[in-house]
Symmetry: C2
Subunit: 601 residues, 2 copies
C-alpha cells in the first residue's frame, strides 16, 4: 500500500539552482564528477531504493529478526536486497576507488544516499551507514596493515562495521565505561567487557563484522581522557597468530574472536535492525589512533553518524508525507466551507479543508527546508577537505555548527511530521495496513540515537557556539547577514527577508544572553539549550527558504517554482513564528527548573 517517489527533482533544484554543488568541489579531486553524473547517481539510487529496498521495508517490520544461541538471522529478503546493492556498487559510493568505492562527493553519499535509503528502508540503511563510518575512521587513523586488511571489504559492504560505545551503566556519560583493553607483547590488545545497544552488532548479512570499541587500557587517565579506540573483528584471519596483519589472506578463522551476542532488544520499531548486547571476552583487537586518544576519533565517526541520523528524520518525514498526500487526494469527506467544490461527488476532497492543508504543508515545507540545509551541509562536508585554508576553515566551522542542529532539529521534525501525517489519515493512519504507523515508530529512535537531542542541544549551546571565541557562528553570520543586506531593497524578497532579519536579530540577542548568563551560571545555558537549538534550526531553515525563494522569484509562472514560493510563504507565516515563544522560554532562565524540590518530582 505504501507509495514513494524519490524527490529527485528537488535534489536537482538544490544541487544545481540553489547551490552550485559541482562548482563548489572544484579542486577537491572529483575531477570527473559533473552534473550529468550526479543526476545519473540520484536517479539510479532512487530507482534502486524504490525497486529493491522499499518492497522489503514492511516485511522487515513484521518478520523482524531471528535470535537463537547468540546468532541473529535477518530476513532472507534483506540479505538479497543488500547483496544486490553490493553488486551494483551502491554501498560504497563515497569510498575511495582504490578500496573499490565510487569516490563520489560526500554531498551525494551523506545527503541524497541517506535520505533515499532511510525513506525506502531505514532498518537496512543503517548497516552500510555504520560500515562507512568505520571505514572513514580506519582509513584516516588506522595503521596501514589494518587499512590494507579491512578497508576494501568495509567499503564495498562485504564486511560490516559497528560502533561499540554504550555500556549498561554508561550511555551519555562515556567517561565511566569499564570495558578493558590489556596490552599484549605482540602489540595487540585483549578486549573484555559488555556493550549494549549495539546496532547490527551481530547478524548474518556479511561474513565478518568489524567492531570499533571504546575501552580503557589499565593505568591510563580517569574519565574520557583514558579511553582508547580498538578494532575488533568478529572473526580473525585464519592465518593470523600474533602481531599485525601484513600480507595475510582474508580467509577467516571459523571460531569467533571472543565476540558473542547475548541478546537483542525488543524495540518499538526498526524491527529489522538488530540492537545487540555484545560481550567481548579477551577478544583480540588493534589500537586505532593514539593510545588514550579514542574519544576524538569516536566523535569524528559520531559526527558523521549524527548527520546520517538527522537524515533519517527527513527520510521518514518525506515518505510519511507522500503517503498522507496520496490518501488525501483520494479521500472525500465534507464540503469546502466556502461552498461545494465537486457537486458530482458525495463529498469534496479533503484538501479543501484548511486544517488538512495546514498539516500537509507543515510536513512538506519542513521536509523541503531540511533537504536544502542538508544539501548545503553536504557540500560543506566536502569543502572541509579543500586545500584553500579559508574554504576549509569556513566549511569546518559551519559543519561543527550544523551537525547538532541537523541531528536534533531534523529528527524532532521527522517525528512531528510522521505524527502529523498519521493525523491526516485519521483511523487509517493508526492501522498497520497503511504503513505510516511504521514510519511513526521507526523514526522515533532517531531522536535518541548518537546522543539524544538534548545532548545535541548542549553540544550546540555549550560548545559549538563558544568554540574559538565564536568562530563557528561568525562563519554563519557573515554570509547570512550579507544575504539579508543584499536583498534589503528587493521588493519581491521582502516577505521572506524581513522575518528572516527579525529571526537573525533575535538569534544574535539570545546567543549573547546565553553566553553572558552561561558564564556566571552554566545551568542557564543548559536550561535553554533545547529551545535554543530549535530556534537556531528555524533560522537556518528560514535562511534556506529565503535563498530558495530568491531563485524561484526569477522563474515565476512555472509550477515547480511557484510552489516553492508558496512553501516559503507558508514557512514564514505558519512555522517560523514559533521562534518568538522559544525566545521567551530561553529568557526565563533555569530558576523554574532548578528550584524545583527534587523530592517532589
Amino acid at each position: 500500500m505504501v507509495v514513494w517517489e524519490p524527490p529527485s527533482r528537488d535534489y536537482d533544484f538544490l544541487f544545481n539552482e540553489v547551490f552550485d554543488a559541482i562548482g563548489s568541489i572544484e579542486g577537491l579531486g572529483y575531477d570527473d564528477f559533473d552534473a550529468d553524473f550526479l543526476s545519473m547517481l540520484i536517479d539510479g539510487w532512487g530507482t534502486h531504493t524504490k525497486e529493491v529496498w522499499l518492497p522489503i521495508n514492511e516485511l522487515g517490520d513484521k518478520e523482524g529478526l531471528g535470535f537463537k544461541d547468540g546468532i541473529i538471522t535477518m530476513p532472507k529478503e534483506f540479505k538479497e536486497a543488500y547483496r544486490q546493492g553490493i553488486e551494483e556498487g551502491w554501498m560504497a559510493t563515497s569510498c575511495k576507488p582504490e578500496h573499490g568505492g565510487m569516490g563520489v562527493p560526500t554531498f551525494f553519499s551523506a545527503v541524497t544516499w541517506a535520505e533515499y535509503g532511510t525513506s525506502a528502508c531505514m532498518a537496512l540503511s543503517v548497516l552500510p551507514a555504520l560500515s562507512i563510518g568505520v571505514y572513514e575512521v580506519l582509513t584516516h587513523h588506522g595503521r596501514q596493515d589494518l587499512i590494507d586488511y579491512f578497508a576494501s571489504n568495509l567499503a564495498t559492504g562485504e564486511w560490516a562495521g559497528t560502533m561499540c560505545l554504550t555500556e549498561p551503566h554508561a550511555g551519555t556519560d562515556l567517561g565511566i565505561i569499564s570495558t578493558k583493553a590489556e596490552p599484549q607483547d605482540d602489540g595487540t590488545y585483549r578486549i573484555t567487557g559488555t556493550k549494549i545497544f549495539i546496532t547490527y552488532g551481530e547478524h548474518d548479512m556479511t561474513e565478518n563484522i568489524v567492531h570499533l570499541i571504546l575501552a580503557k587500557v589499565p593505568g591510563g587517565p580517569e574519565g574520557t581522557k583514558g579511553i582508547s579506540l580498538f578494532l575488533v573483528p568478529k572473526y580473525l584471519p585464519s592465518e593470523w597468530e600474533d602481531g599485525g596483519l601484513e600480507g595475510i589472506s582474508r580467509d577467516l578463522n571459523p571460531d569467533h574472536n571472543g565476540v558473542t551476542c547475548s541478546g537483542a532488544e525488543e524495540k518499538m520499531g526498526l524491527h529489522a535492525s538488530p540492537t545487540c548486547v555484545m560481550n567481548f571476552d579477551e577478544s583480540v583487537g588493534w589500537l586505532v589512533g593514539p593510545l588514550h586518544g579514542g574519544m576524538p576519533l569516536m566523535f569524528e565517526m559520531m559526527n558523521r553518524e549524527r548527520v546520517a541520523t538527522g537524515m533519517m528524520g527527513l527520510g521518514l518525514g518525506e515518505i510519511a508525507y507522500q503517503n498522507a498526500l496520496a490518501w488525501s487526494l483520494e479521500r472525500r469527506q465534507g464540503r469546502d466551507l466556502k461552498g461545494i467544490q465537486d457537486p458530482g461527488q458525495t463529498a469534496d476532497n479533503i484538501l479543501v479543508h484548511p486544517d488538512v492543508r495546514r498539516m500537509l504543508l507543515e510536513a512538506k515545507v519542513n521536509n523541503e527546508g531540511s533537504r536544502a540545509l542538508a544539501v548545503w551541509a553536504g557540500i560543506l562536508l566536502d569543502q572541509m577537505h579543500s586545500e584553500e585554508p579559508e574554504v576549509s576553515e569556513a566549511a569546518t566551522a559551519l559543519v561543527a555548527l550544523f551537525t547538532p542542529i541537523i541531528k536534533a532539529h531534523f529528527t524532532d521534525l521527522g517525528c512531528e511530521t510522521a505524527s502529523t501525517c498519521m493525523q491526516v489519515m485519521g483511523g487509517a493512519g493508526y492501522c498497520t495496513e497503511y504503513g505510516v504507523e511504521q514510519f511513526y515508530r521507526d523514526v522515533r529512535i532517531s531522536k535518541i540515537w548518537e546522543g539524544t537531542n538534548g545532548i545535541q542541544a548542549l553540544d550546540l549551546a555549550g560548545r559549538k557556539i563558544t568554540q574559538d571565541y565564536g568562530k563557528n557562528l561568525r562563519h554563519l553570520m557573515w554570509p547570512l547577514t550579507q544575504f539579508i543586506e543584499e536583498n534589503r531593497d528587493n521588493h519581491g524578497m521582502a516577505e521572506f527577508n524581513k522575518p528572516l532579519y527579525q529571526g537573525v536579530k533575535g538569534l544574535q540577542q539570545i546567543t549573547l544572553l546565553m553566553i553572558a548568563e552561561g558564564m556566571a551560571n552554566p545551568h542557564f545555558l543548559a536550561a535553554g539549550a533545547t529551545d535554543y537549538c530549535r530556534y537556531f534550526g528555524n533560522v537556518l531553515l528560514g535562511y534556506m527558504w529565503a535563498k530558495m525563494a530568491k531563485v524561484c522569484l526569477q522563474k515565476k509562472g512555472e509550477p515547480f517554482y511557484d510552489a516553492k514560493l508558496a512553501s516559503a510563504r507558508f514557512f514564514f507565516k505558519r512555522i517560523f513564528p514559533e521562534t518568538v515563544s522559544l525566545a521567551a522560554k530561553i529568557q526565563s532562565g533555569p530558576k523554574a527548573l532548578m528550584d524545583y524540590p527534587v523530592e517532589m518530582f
Copy 2:
C-alpha cells in the same frame, strides 16, 4: 518493570481544596455522598486498577486478540480482570442504583475513574466506557421496554455496548453513510450495512453486545438530517418474536442477529482493544429517540466519549511520567555543570541536568494542570443537571466549551508527554522492556478517536464560541476575569496572575479576530482553529495553575504545596509562552494555506 501509583493525593487536593466538589453537588440527588465516601472510592479504584488492571496491560499488548471465523477472543487475563471489576461493582459507578449502579457523581466516574482506568490498562478501560455511553443514551432517550431490558446489564457490565458510526467511505462526514434501516410492521427495523473502526464491536468478554448504530431510513431527508439511531443487539432474546421487549426474559437466542464481524484491524497500539469491521445483515433493531433525530443523540454520547478520550491523554501521560521519573531517580550519567553532587558515586543522578528537569516538568506540570481542569469539568457535568437554572445553564455552557479542548489538548499533551518521557529514558525508552513505548503507541489513537483533534478545534472555533451569541465564552470569562481582578493586588499571586491576564487578553483579541474574519471568510476560522484550540487550552490550564497557586500560597512550607507553587511557576515560565507564537500563526490567516496550488502538494 512498569511502575504506577494512583495520584490520589492530587485528587484529594483538587476535589477538596481547589474545588468544593461535595458542596457543588448539593441538591443534585447525591445526598449520601460525602468527602469520606469520595476518598474511599478514589482509594478503592486506585487499588483495583493497580492490582488487577495494571498487571495485564503489557500482556494485552503482546498477546493481543485472537480472530477466527468472525469470533474475537480476548486474553483470558482480560476476561478475569473484567469479571472481577463487575463483581466489585467498579464498572457501574455512575449508573443509577435501580440499574445496579453505584450512582456516584460524574466527577468521579468521568475523571478519576477514567484516568486510573486508562493509566492502568487503556485497552480494557475502553470497554466499560463505551457501555456506559450506551447506557446513558438509552436511559435518557430509549423506550421504557428497551431500558428495562438492556439498562441494568449495560450498567453492571454484564453486557457491553458500542457506537457504530464510521463506514468505509464516511468517517468525519457522517452525512454520507449508507447503512439502511427498513421499518417493519411490528415497529422494529431491519438494519443492513457495514461499519468500520468499531471498538469492541466483537469480543468474548460479555455474553451480549449492544450496538448503537447510525443508519438511514429510506425516504428520509438527505445528509445528517436523515440519520436515525438504532439499538441492535448481537443476540436477540430467545423469547422474542416481534415488536417490543416487555416482560421478556434475558435468555438469549444462540443465533446471532445478523451481526457479524468480518475483520479486526492490526493497529500500532492498543492491541487488546478490538477494532472491528461489523456487518449488519437485516439485523433486528429498535429506534432510539426520534426518527431522523439520531445525530443529536449520537453527539450526546460522543461528547461523553470525547471527555473520556481526553482523559486517556492524561492517564497515559501520568503513567509515562511516573516511569520516566523512576528511571531518572536511578540513572546516573555525567555531573552537575555547577560541580559534583555525589562524590561517592561515579556520576550524579540525571536530575542534576536542567534539560532532564525540563522534560520531566513539562510532563508533570501538564499532567497536573490537565487533572485540575478535568476535575472542574467533571463537577460541571454533574451541575448540568441542577434544578437551579443559572447553575445548569453555566455548567452546560462551560461543558460545551471545554469538551473539544479536553479532547484535543489533553490528547495532544498526552502524546507529547509520552514522547518526552521516552526521551528522558534514552535508548531504554525505545525498548519494549521498559513499558513507555507501549504508552507512546497506545496514547496515539486518542488524537484520532471520537473526531480527530482537527475536528475538535473546528467544533470549538466554528461552533462553541459563536453558539448563542457567545454565551459559552461569557460563562467562562465572567469567573475568569473576576479571578484575575480579585488577585490584582495580591502580591504573592502576581507572578501567576499577570501572565494569565496577558493570556486572557490575547485570547479575547484573537477570538474577536476569528469571529470577525470568519464571518467574511470561513477559511480564516478553519485555518486558525487548531492553534486557537491550543491557545485556549493553555489559557484554561493557566487559570487552573493560578487557582491552585492561590490555594497553595496559604500553605507554604509544606512540601506538597511548595511543589505545586513551583509547578505553577514552571507552567507560566516554560509552557505558557507558546501562546505568543500560536497567536501569530492564527493572525497570519488562511492565505498561505489556501493559495497553495493543489497540483503542487
